[in-house]
C-alpha cells in the first residue's frame, strides 16, 4: 500500500505492507534509527515519536495509520547540526546528565518536548507523570526530571528576554 508520511518536515512516499509498524518504517525504510525499539508489549516507550504533535508508542501504530500525518522523531528536534541548534530539551539532557546509555533518551526527549509545549513550567510530579509510560534502566529518572526543568527554565528566560525587548522597543516608540 502506498503511503505519504511527512517526517521531520520532509515528505516520504513509500509502498509498504500494512503490517509494518511505524517504528520499523522509520528505522528500516527511512533509516532514522534514533527511534528505538525495546519491547513487544507496548510498555517501554523507547519508540515514542510525535504523530501530528501527539506522543505515541510507534511500535503500536501501523505505518499505514500514519498515512497523511506528520511525524516528529528525535532527528527532528534540533534545528541544525551544531550544539547551538539543539532544542533546549536536548541541551538540558546534556547539561544535567539526563542520559547514560541513551537507549530511552529519544522517547524521553520527545515526550518532554510535547509536555513543555503544553505546560511551560511543569512541576517535578507532572514531569514524572508524563514520562511514566517510559522505562529508563540507567538514570533512576532523577536527572531526566532535572533536565526537563533545566529546559523549562531556559525557555522561560528566553521568553522573558524577548518580552523585555518588546517592552524596551515599545518604550522607545
Amino acid at each position: 500500500m502506498q503511503i505519504t508520511v511527512s517526517v521531520n518536515g520532509e515528505s516520504h512516499v513509500r509502498d509498504v505492507e500494512p503490517r509494518l509498524l511505524l517504528t520499523h518504517f522509520l528505522r528500516d525504510e527511512l533509516r532514522l534509527t534514533g527511534t528505538h525499539w525495546g519491547c513487544d508489549t507496548s510498555n517501554c516507550g523507547a519508540c515514542v515519536v510525535r504523530l501530528d504533535g501527539v506522543p505515541v508508542k510507534s511500535c503500536t501504530v501501523l505505518a499505514v495509520m500514519a498515512d497523511g500525518a506528520e511525524v516528529t522523531t528525535v532527528e527532528g528536534l534540533a534545528h541544525g547540526r551544531t550544539d547551538a541548534d539543539l532544542d533546549p530539551v536536548q541541551e538540558g539532557f546534556m547539561v544535567c546528565h539526563g542520559l547514560q546509555c541513551g537507549f530511552c533518551t529519544p522517547g524521553m526527549m520527545l515526550t518532554s518536548r510535547a509536555l513543555l509545549d503544553r505546560d511551560p513550567a511543569p512541576s517535578a510530579a507532572t514531569i514524572r507523570e508524563a514520562i511514566s509510560g517510559q522505562i529508563c534502566r540507567c538514570t533512576g529518572y532523577e536527572n531526566i526530571v532535572r533536565s526537563v526543568q533545566w529546559a523549562a527554565a531556559k525557555e522561560a528566560a528566553t521568553r522573558d528576554a524577548a518580552d523585555a525587548d518588546t517592552d524596551s522597543s515599545e518604550a522607545l516608540a
Binding site: 520499523h24 513487544d40 507496548s42 501527539v54 503500536t60 501501523l62 509510560g133 517510559q134
Partner: protein
C-alpha cells in the same frame, strides 16, 4: 522482533462504510481503533485478523456531547480526551479518577473508550466505571442503532454484545443531579493493569441511598458489578457503617483468581476495601464536600 501476520488494510470513511467493509470481508475482519490492545495481540500472534478496518478517521465518533439529561461519549474518544474533558470532570469524576490510572499517558493518547469496552478484558477499568454509572452502549449495524445497558454488554471475557457486523458508536451516561461518583485502583507500578479496582455512583436523598452503582474490575465480578452490595445499600442510610458492610459484601461475592498480581484472599480484601473507599468518596462528592 515480533511482527503481526499479514493482513489486508482498509480505512473506513464512515460508520456505514465500516459496517459494509465488515460485512464484505467476513468473520476474520476486525475493526482497529487505538490498536493498543489489538496490535500487541497481533504482534504476539494471539490475534491474526485477515483484514483490518481502520476507524481512526471517523471524527464523528470522537466527541463528548451533553444531550439534555445524559452525556454521549463517542467510541473513538481517546482516554486522554476523556481525562481532560471538563464536562466529564463536572458530571462524572469517576471517569477522571479512572483515566488517571489507566495505562500510561502515552498509551492514553491512542487507546479509545470503544476499544476498551469492546476488548472486554476482565481487568479493564472503564467497564467497571460505566457499569457503576449504569450507562448504555449504543451499537450500530446495517439496520440502524440499538441500545444495550453496559451491564448486559459483556458476555464473558473478551466477548461483548456487539455482533461482527456492528460497531459500538457511543456510550450514554445519565446525568444525576445531587449524585457523586469515584474510582480507585491498586496497581503494582505506574501504568500497570489493576490488581483490583472499584468504582461507585451514589445519589443520596435526605440521608438515604436513593440510587447506587458499584463496579468492580480484575476480581472476577460478573458483568463488572457488585449487585448484592448495591441491593444492601439501596433504601438504607448513607452511613460509613453501611459503606463498610457493602465492602464486605462485595468482597464476599466476587471471585478473583490468583495470578502474578496476587493471591485470591489479597484481591478479595482489596475488592472490599476499595469498594468502601469509593463509596465514601462518592458520598462526599454528592454532598459537594470534595471535587
Amino acid at each position: 522482533m515480533q511482527v503481526p501476520a499479514q493482513f489486508e488494510y482498509h480505512k473506513a470513511t464512515s460508520v456505514d462504510d465500516a459496517i459494509a467493509l465488515l460485512t464484505r470481508h467476513g468473520p476474520e475482519s476486525f475493526v482497529v481503533a487505538g490498536g493498543h490492545s489489538l496490535l500487541p495481540m497481533m504482534k504476539l500472534r494471539l490475534a491474526e485478523p485477515e483484514t483490518l478496518i481502520d476507524i481512526n478517521g471517523l471524527d464523528e465518533l470522537a466527541t463528548v456531547t451533553v444531550e439534555s439529561d445524559h452525556v454521549r461519549i463517542g467510541a473513538m474518544v481517546r482516554h486522554s480526551a476523556l481525562l481532560s474533558s471538563p464536562v466529564i470532570a463536572e458530571h462524572f469524576p469517576i471517569f477522571t479518577d479512572a483515566e488517571r490510572l489507566i495505562a500510561d499517558p502515552i498509551v492514553r493518547n491512542r487507546g479509545t473508550i470503544g476499544g476498551s469496552l469492546c476488548q472486554a478484558d476482565p481487568s479493564e477499568d472503564l467497564s467497571a466505571a460505566f457499569s457503576a454509572m449504569r450507562a448504555t452502549a449504543v451499537i450500530r449495524g446495517a439496520d440502524g442503532e440499538r441500545e444495550v445497558p453496559v451491564r448486559e454488554f459483556h458476555r464473558g471475557p473478551y466477548e461483548t454484545a456487539v455482533a461482527h457486523e456492528e460497531l459500538l458508536v457511543a456510550v450514554r451516561v445519565p446525568i444525576r443531579p445531587a449524585s457523586g461518583s469515584a474510582y480507585a485502583k491498586l496497581e503494582r507500578r505506574a501504568g500497570d493493569w489493576a490488581v483490583a479496582s472499584a468504582g461507585a455512583m451514589l445519589r443520596v436523598d435526605a440521608g438515604t441511598v436513593a440510587e447506587v452503582g458499584i463496579g468492580l474490575s480484575a476480581v472476577g465480578a460478573a458483568h463488572f458489578v457488585a449487585p448484592e452490595a448495591e441491593e444492601y445499600l439501596r433504601g438504607g442510610p448513607a452511613s460509613d457503617e453501611a459503606f463498610v458492610e457493602a465492602g464486605r459484601i462485595s468482597a464476599a461475592h466476587c471471585s478473583p483468581s490468583a495470578d502474578q498480581r496476587g493471591p485470591v484472599d489479597y484481591k478479595r480484601h482489596l475488592a472490599g476495601e476499595l469498594t468502601t473507599r469509593v463509596l465514601r468518596r462518592a458520598a462526599r462528592r454528592s454532598r459537594g464536600e470534595e471535587a
